[in-house]
């Protein structure tokens, strides 16, 4: 028998071949990056050009890795362009968001963020509704709502970026630099990471649980907006004006998002486990994924979070070295990042060495969320330090 024949029979099961869609995607990403460079290149330093190029490469890879991202990106790009075009037509003044129809009702950053908030809250309810009714159709609707929420969130961020320059060129900055802005980032990234695992594990039963964290974040965001006026675009303090921010913050929030998802899976695990113990034929447990699967998913998500949190902490240290003159100052935010990191390192070790699974790990993942929340919010609320963004 020839090697080639064997190869040929295996060939049929090859991965998805490159198709027209992929080429359109690659062309789209490249054109988009070149356009951004031509439009805004004069405002970038060499590192930022590097980040732009890196983002383009990553996007191409991500599109291949997870095709759903392509469609999402087209939506985001389209809606963002409508917003930019609308501002342009109104002479690039910020007050256009009260006059231009599209801006006022859909795509100015504030409208988009309100849409995002509504969609996520709606998605939460829809997921639970689907769980109760065992309705596949309702569950699919919930997924669509999450996608729509993510799209609006991303549009809100992109447009806010532009708006910061429209208000005052001096104020211009990427919207990941105040507590308000990173909350949007958190919502969007958590939504995305969840969607990825939902697709990969083919279960929508966990959606409601994960959306609970996101809805809480939405509630905080709305309170922060209406009670504190935090949505107003403020200029940056000098220490925050750095290209480091563009990579440090997103990496951090992939970590926070993943840890939150793990905690909510933990809760779903505990509930399922309890109803199984009460009644092995419990109808609730029948609707949920298997315990093994949730346990596995928890591990995967924590691994992802841990990896990105590691990178984020290292990037933070490098930034601190440049901004404050020391890579580690035991500043409360830094220290709490370390605590979060150590906590999950311990989680991973215990799972590995003692082979602990299930209930204790689920509880631990949930406690991990409390620690993470303190690192994210509590430090800003209760402790003072060098991290100057967003005091409550």
């Amino acid at each position: 028998m020839q090697t080639q024949t064997i190869m040929d029979s295996l060939q049929e099961e090859e991965k998805r071949p490159y198709g027209i869609k992929d080429f359109i995607w690659i062309a789209f990403v490249i054109l988009g990056s070149v356009y951004s460079y031509m439009q805004y290149g004069s405002l970038m330093d060499v590192y930022e050009v590097g980040i732009l190029a890196g983002t383009a490469v990553a996007m191409i890879w991500l599109g291949r890795f997870w095709p759903s991202l392509m469609q999402m990106t087209y939506w985001v790009a389209g809606m963002t362009l409508v917003a930019l075009w609308s501002y342009h037509n109104h002479g690039n003044v910020i007050t256009a968001n009260e006059q231009a129809f599209f801006l006022k009702f859909l795509v100015s950053s504030q409208s988009a963020i309100m849409w995002m908030s509504a969609l996520f809250v709606l998605a939460t309810a829809t997921y639970f509704f689907a769980l109760i009714n065992k309705s596949q159709f309702t569950a699919k609707t919930a997924t669509t709502l999450v996608w729509a929420g993510v799209v609006f969130g991303l549009v809100g961020m992109m447009v806010r970026w532009r708006e910061s320059y429209i208000i005052n060129v001096d104020y211009g900055h990427i919207p990941v630099s105040s507590l308000y802005e990173v909350f949007i980032l958190f919502i969007v990234l958590t939504g995305l990471i969840y969607l990825y695992y939902e697709q990969k594990y083919k279960t929508r039963a966990l959606g409601g649980f994960v959306m609970l964290v996101i809805s809480s974040a939405v509630a905080f965001l709305l309170w922060y907006h209406f009670d504190r006026g935090a949505h107003e675009i403020q200029p940056l303090v000098p220490a925050l004006k750095s290209y480091w921010m563009k990579i440090h913050v997103p990496a951090n929030f992939i970590g926070y998002g993943a840890f939150s998802i793990a905690a909510m899976i933990g809760i779903a695990y505990l509930l399922t486990n309890r109803s199984l113990q009460k009644n092995p034929n419990s109808s609730f447990a029948a609707k949920m994924p298997s315990l093994e699967m949730m346990d596995d998913l928890m591990y995967k998500v924590i691994s992802l979070g841990f990896a990105f949190f590691t990178i984020a902490t290292i990037l933070g240290a490098m930034w601190a070295a440049e901004a404050w003159g020391g890579y580690w100052s035991w500043d409360p935010k830094e220290t709490w990042a370390l605590i979060v990191w150590l906590n999950y390192a311990a989680w991973l070790h215990i799972r590995m060495s003692k082979g602990w699974r299930g209930t204790p790990m689920a509880w631990w993942a949930f406690i991990g969320l409390l620690i993470t929340t303190f690192a994210f919010l509590g430090v800003n609320m209760f402790l003072s330090g060098l991290h100057s963004y967003g005091e409550l």
Partner: protein, 652 residues
């Protein structure tokens, strides 16, 4: 040894480190002892202090935990490392068929193709799935093909754990262990007083031999420094630098909110033995690197702005200000008829932005308004009592009028109380001080009053004289205590039944007197020609504004007003300088850590064994698979390979 390398110890240490870190963030670190006593009381302060909780990250036990973590991880790597490296290389192809049956995933198949073809199919499928293969011919005539994939996972383990060791080591290099050692042996003592450099305790100096440090220094424009101040326990140390830094220029830009937007310094670094200095501009996030040293732009302040000041005596009947040439950070003694004072000039600010109301924003198109420069200073009397002032240099417009603002407070905890000295038509304070000088001379006021209100016909001389005496006394009272003082006086010294009437009379008289003095001044200035003429509106409101000020002067502290006539701003740059030999070590460790973590999570080490045994014209296949992490996908993948082998074997 076993204990040191155990996972239990590792997790315990991780948890201990976390708890220590929590303490360090919840208890504010490195505050003054006084603050702690106020917060916790003397007993707990003593307890916390002896546990090192006020400097957790420098406490001996904390370092000990770190050292143990380092040890534990090292032992762990030394113990597991070699095994893991071996594991990376070996295929375990000699594993017995019975052992294969005990692997996490295993199954058997039967086929009826030639052994040669079967071997080929198995090898190709395994290679297609990314396995490296090794073939082992057994004595019983069977063949085992062993596959191995993802051996980098093991490398990931080694990278991660070695990187922890490297990072801890780098961190220790940058810690102040050397200084701690010197302190323990009595060769080092932090300085706790604020004194000039030449008075700093000799034991508080550290030379350039210090391995690593991180400190700050402020350098005024066109000044230089070759020392650095290191915060240390409850005081500081002075670090001698192997170079001299000159601050040629400091610049700062502001947002329209008055918030600093960016600041930068033109530095020159003079290094002994090198003729040309290193010249570089540094700004926030853009430091200067020289050898092991890094110089960061970290803050800014006043570097001794030069001030020209006129000190107006507020109780003198003549306008004769005392000219003073001084600077921020200087202390000036003042000898005055009302006592001796020391004036400390604390700070100068060139911009004071205040938010505008919505209407004003619409009008001006700006969100903020610059109220102009201010000087803050303290006046201290001989008893040590101090008043703190904030004086604006230029007048500010309020409701169409211009005022010079001056704020005063008795302690830093209070807000400033402001006086608004009205500017005259030339936007100066001259008229105010001229007017004040008249009021400070009750006899002169009386003369002016007499001129404007000569004795009426039919009035008797004594009554008139009494009235004039009263004018004089009222003026004295008014200058000493203001309108409120006159009210108080009436309340205290007049029977209650008469109070309303007397008070009315006194106020009318005082107002007449003040007015007549003002009219006289206006005449002198040439604004009006006679006392009967109507006064322009501007001068009317000026009069009211001025009286408000004069009436409150008694609460303004010592009777002096510091008028800043000119200034030359000198800024100081705040530099942070570090020597950090461990930094690159830590970065290297971090890179290793990142790579290691990804290898460990996203590369799974997988093994596959397929034993092909001829049995009665047929082939019996034993397939076994093992994943170093027993994840659900290991089973799926194994099943897929089995299926493929089965299918292709059938087709053949």
């Amino acid at each position: 040894m076993n204990f040191l390398g155990s996972m239990n110890l590792a997790v315990t240490l991780l948890v201990m480190l976390s708890i220590a870190s929590v303490i360090g963030t919840v208890l504010q670190q490195n505050q003054s002892f006084q603050d702690y006593i106020i917060k916790f009381g003397p007993f707990w302060t003593e307890v916390f202090n002896s546990l090192g909780l006020f400097h957790v990250y420098g406490a001996a036990w904390f370092i000990l935990v770190l050292v143990f973590l380092l040890l534990s991880t090292s032992v762990c790597v030394v113990r597991n490392g070699p095994g893991f490296i071996k594991d990376m290389k070996q295929f375990s192809e000699k594993l017995s068929p019975t052992a294969l049956k005990h692997q996490p995933n295993q199954t058997t198949l039967e086929t009826n193709i030639s052994a040669e073809d079967q071997q080929k199919i198995v090898s190709v499928v395994m290679q297609k799935h990314g396995y490296k293969t090794k073939i082992h011919q057994r004595d019983d005539g069977s063949v085992t093909i062993a596959g191995l994939k993802g051996k980098w996972n093991r490398l990931g383990y080694i990278f991660t754990h070695v990187s922890i060791i490297i990072i801890c080591f780098g961190g220790l290099l940058d810690s102040n262990l050397l200084l701690k050692y010197r302190e323990l042996t009595g060769n080092l003592l932090p300085e706790t007083r604020t004194v000039s450099l030449d008075q700093v305790n000799q034991k508080s100096w550290v030379g350039p031999e210090n391995l690593s440090f991180r400190g700050t220094v402020n350098i005024a424009e066109n000044q230089k420094s070759d020392v650095l101040f290191l915060p240390y326990e409850n005081g500081y140390l002075v670090q001698k630098l192997p170079f001299t830094i000159v601050n040629k220029d400091f610049r700062i830009q502001y947002y329209d909110t008055g918030m600093p937007k960016n600041y930068e310094s033109d530095l020159e670094l003079y290094i002994p033995g090198q003729e040309e200095p290193i010249r570089q501009t540094i700004e926030v996030n853009k430091p200067l690197y020289y050898e092991n040293y890094a110089i960061y732009q970290s803050s800014f302040g006043d570097g001794g702005t030069e001030l020209k000041i006129n000190v107006y005596p507020l109780l003198s009947p003549m306008v004769n200000p005392l000219a003073l040439e001084t600077a921020v950070n200087k202390v000036e003694p003042l000898k005055t008829p009302v006592g001796r004072f020391r004036v400390e000039f604390n700070d100068f600010r060139n911009f004071n932005m205040v938010p505008l109301s919505e209407e004003e924003q619409k009008e001006t198109g700006h969100k903020f308004h610059n109220n102009g420069p201010t000087v803050t200073f303290k006046v201290r009397n001989e008893q040590g009592k101090a008043w703190e002032y904030e004086n604006y240099v230029i007048p500010n417009e309020q409701e169409g009028r211009w005022f010079f603002m001056t704020g005063v407070r008795n302690s830093p905890a209070e807000p400033y109380r402001y006086l608004f000295i009205p500017a005259d038509a030339k936007r100066s304070k001259n008229r105010f001080f001229n007017y004040l000088a008249i009021l400070n001379d009750p006899q002169k006021v009386r003369r002016i009053f007499q001129q404007q209100y000569p004795m009426a016909e039919g009035m008797d001389q004594r009554t008139y004289q009494l009235q004039m005496r009263l004018i004089e006394q009222l003026m004295t009272l008014f200058r000493q205590t203001g309108f409120a003082g006159i009210s108080d006086f009436v309340k205290k010294s007049v029977p209650e039944a008469e109070q309303a009437k007397v008070s009315d009379y006194y106020f009318t008289q005082t107002t007449f007197a003040l007015q007549s003095a003002y009219l006289e001044l206006l005449k002198e200035e040439g604004v009006i020609k006679s006392h009967q003429e109507d006064i322009p509106d501007f001068d009317k409101t000026w009069f009211e504004d001025a009286l408000t000020v004069v009436s409150s002067l008694s609460k303004y502290g010592p009777p002096m007003y510091f008028d800043i006539t000119s200034f030359r701003e000198i800024q100081a740059t705040g530099l942070q300088i570090t020597k950090s030999p461990g930094k690159d070590v830590v970065y290297f460790g971090s890179a290793l850590l990142t790579i290691g973590v990804f290898f460990m999570f996203y590369v799974r080490q997988r093994r596959l064994w397929i034993n092909i045994k001829p049995e009665n014209e047929r082939l019996e296949l034993t397939l076994a698979g093992k994943d170093n992490k027993n994840l659900p996908e290991a089973k799926t993948e194994f099943d897929k390979i089995v299926e493929q082998i089965q299918n292709i074997s059938k087709q053949a």
